[in-house]
Symmetry: C2
Subunit: 423 residues, 2 copies
């Protein structure tokens, strides 16, 4: 069968991206937090937009928005594509929104050009992924895949003390599905009919730009381990305490951070290890630090390597603390498993890149994405396009129209292959 | 000439210490900040106390309080002894106050026992040393020795925005000298008649306790260099930025802190080097630190060694920063010269310890003291007694009555030798 030429309308997608970016709280960049008026405005705009483009719109009880293009066959299993609609505070236009805008554009283009698909295609605009308003992530995809059941405890509240449940209820019918259906089922967002999931996203890293490649074919989303670490020594006078009599919590921490970096470099890519927050107590120039608290963020695409790295690191930290007479406490605060992408889909993406004459590389996503929630449930794929200077979660976030168009056409070609070329 | 037996009344000194400790703002320990009601109360109490003990009381324009025992000969040059009356917030009973209470007790005891001295003795209760209310230290001894001239700029203000000058003027005549004499002379606190200065103080370190010795004969007060350091890299996503592409300000800082500790240990005592404050920006667990700000506090009793250590350290920091692509800024924030104590006075103190059967050691004071202001002006000596667990600037600060009595008797014997045994 001759491959059709895929030429999705990138200008329409770019316009949709700009329209979505207009739904933002005041301030630099885009701020669209879960269940805020801006967020609600964007989700309603998207519903109208998709309906106008001929997609069958539906929502669910937590505020995910879907636009469906029914398949003429195989209607029982859906090929889902999209991303999240929420942003961080003062984020960019592309993180999440790009995957949504490209999915809408792709489905409309496919329907207009090739008619109804054999298998059902659906756009998803997930209500939440970032965890920027409430201390919880993946509320959108997590409710679809069963990580959540539509409920969050009262401890899940925003900085103003509004709980997630209060915010969701206050959003009312605008949340998505009618309030009644939510009340009746208790978990109307859970879906068992997703047969595949494909997500297009900006890289949020610098690898593609550095290697001047157009497309990243994601092999896996890295698993994460996070720890809160507390090192306790003895606060003392910086002038009167000889070096040999100190139990300096910061000097011990510095040795641990050097070990962290050295072992991460030795482990090699895709392992990354970071201390992003560190506090010194009492924090006075002429007092030897009695306590240091810091965070560890460690990621790898292979569970066994992630585990063994963390185990060796903890052992090294314990050795340093014991030798220095320091107390060490390590509390795990996050543990997500690596999410391998579907290999057949990865190969299909590589074939499409070759057919379209696009440069590409295989890569691991060090950042978390909605796709990691779907990967254990169904064949899942992710496509990356370059981020300028690797910058994301910032008003400076940028990918060029050409880069965005390349990703759109790869996505569209994959969806065509999955939904129209069913054997 | 047969040495007289010195047996100063330690109980009287202990009582005076307790009486002074009662002048405190509410809260744990003792809080007696410059020009506060508590401070004013203590200085007035001291004036009355000394007058009652037969000392000739005078004050100066900045609030230093003096109690004079006039010499029958050599009246032109004064042997000054004492310490500061102010405390840190929630400090102890002994820091500063011990040197004042012991001096008062010693002078009264000497006068009662041996009559008037040949050379004039004077107790000094310096108004300020700690820098706890205003961002300035040694306001008391500094005005006597010419470091200050009775004036401080409007930028020298307490956390409530009250300037030092406003606080001093509000204290009114209670400050010390009459307001008029201060206004007329502009610098009435400057004294040119100090022939010697002797200060008794708690060690505020753990060396005497660790070696189970009674007396520290201070050879020098360490000079200090302080720096504010800023390391700038690039904030980036902790998940998407490979180890090899990072410019992690905290990883670079950790390497610097390890180099700091290693080189300080290699340099050997009495060098000490400390980072007490450190801040990470932005300080988010999943963001690679783009900037770290930290302090350096480096001390040594020999100026040349202090300088060469600092120069080598800065060079090592620059090498680390350059290799990692980080920007390094080092701003000197404090530079005090080492203050060697007078060797004849040190030898006299050692002889007295031997005569009194007291164990002692020579040592360097890593902490700053009023004595360092006098050392360039006149022969100066310092005597240390043990601090339990080396703890100071805390309600936990403690030295036993026996330890305090030993220091009192060494001080008294030295004053006897200097003021009564004049050849």
């Amino acid at each position: 069968m001759k491959k059709p030429v895929i030429h999705a309308p990138a200008a329409a997608m770019q316009k949709l991206l700009e329209e979505l970016a207009a739904f933002s709280a005041p301030g630099p960049g885009v701020t669209r937090l879960l269940y805020t008026p801006e967020w609600s405005g964007a989700q309603h705009f998207l519903q109208e937009k998709m309906a106008g483009l001929g997609l069958e719109v539906h929502t669910d009880s937590v505020g995910n928005v879907f636009g469906r293009l029914n398949g003429s066959q195989h209607s029982g299993s859906v090929i889902l594509t999209g991303s999240h609609i929420d942003t961080v505070v003062n984020g960019g236009k592309y993180d999440g929104a790009y995957g949504v805008a490209a999915a809408v554009t792709a489905l409309h283009y496919l329907a207009e050009t090739f008619g109804p698909p054999l298998r059902t295609l659906e756009v998803a605009a997930f209500c939440e992924e970032e965890g920027s308003r409430f201390p919880l992530t993946f509320w959108g995809s997590g409710n679809i895949t069963g990580l959540y059941d539509g409920r969050a405890g009262d401890s899940i509240a925003d900085p103003e003390g509004v709980t997630l449940m209060e915010a969701m209820n206050a959003c009312g019918p605008g949340t998505g599905g009618s309030q009644e259906s939510s009340d009746k089922s208790g978990n109307s967002a859970r879906r068992e009919d997703i047969g595949m999931y494909v997500e297009l996203h900006i890289e949020q890293g610098i690898l593609l730009e550095q290697s001047a490649l157009q497309i990243g074919v994601v092999q896996a989303i890295a698993g994460q381990r996070r720890f809160a670490v507390r090192v306790t020594g003895t606060a003392n006078h910086a002038g009167t305490t000889p070096m040999g009599l100190r139990r300096d919590a910061l000097a011990g921490t510095a040795e641990m951070l050097c070990a962290l970096e050295r072992s991460a470099v030795e482990a090699g890519a895709p392992l990354v290890a970071t201390t992003g927050r560190l506090e010194v107590i009492p924090g006075t120039p002429n007092v030897i630090p009695g306590e240091v608290q810091f965070t560890l963020d460690i990621r790898h695409s292979e569970a066994a390597r992630l585990e063994s790295f963390c185990a060796a690191l903890v052992a090294a930290f314990r050795e340093i603390a014991a030798r220095r007479g320091l107390m060490l406490e390590l509390v795990p605060t996050l543990a997500t498993s690596p999410a391998p992408m579907n290999q057949a889909l990865c190969e299909a993406l590589e074939q499409i890149c070759l057919e379209q004459g696009r440069s590409f590389r295989r890569m691991v996503s060090g950042a978390g994405h909605d796709a990691q929630l779907f990967a254990p449930e169904c064949p899942t794929a992710m496509i990356f396009v370059p981020s300028r200077a690797g910058i994301s979660h910032s008003p400076e976030e940028y990918s060029s129209p050409e880069e965005l168009a390349a990703g759109l056409n790869v996505l569209t070609a994959l969806l065509y292959r999955l939904a129209y070329e069913v054997s």
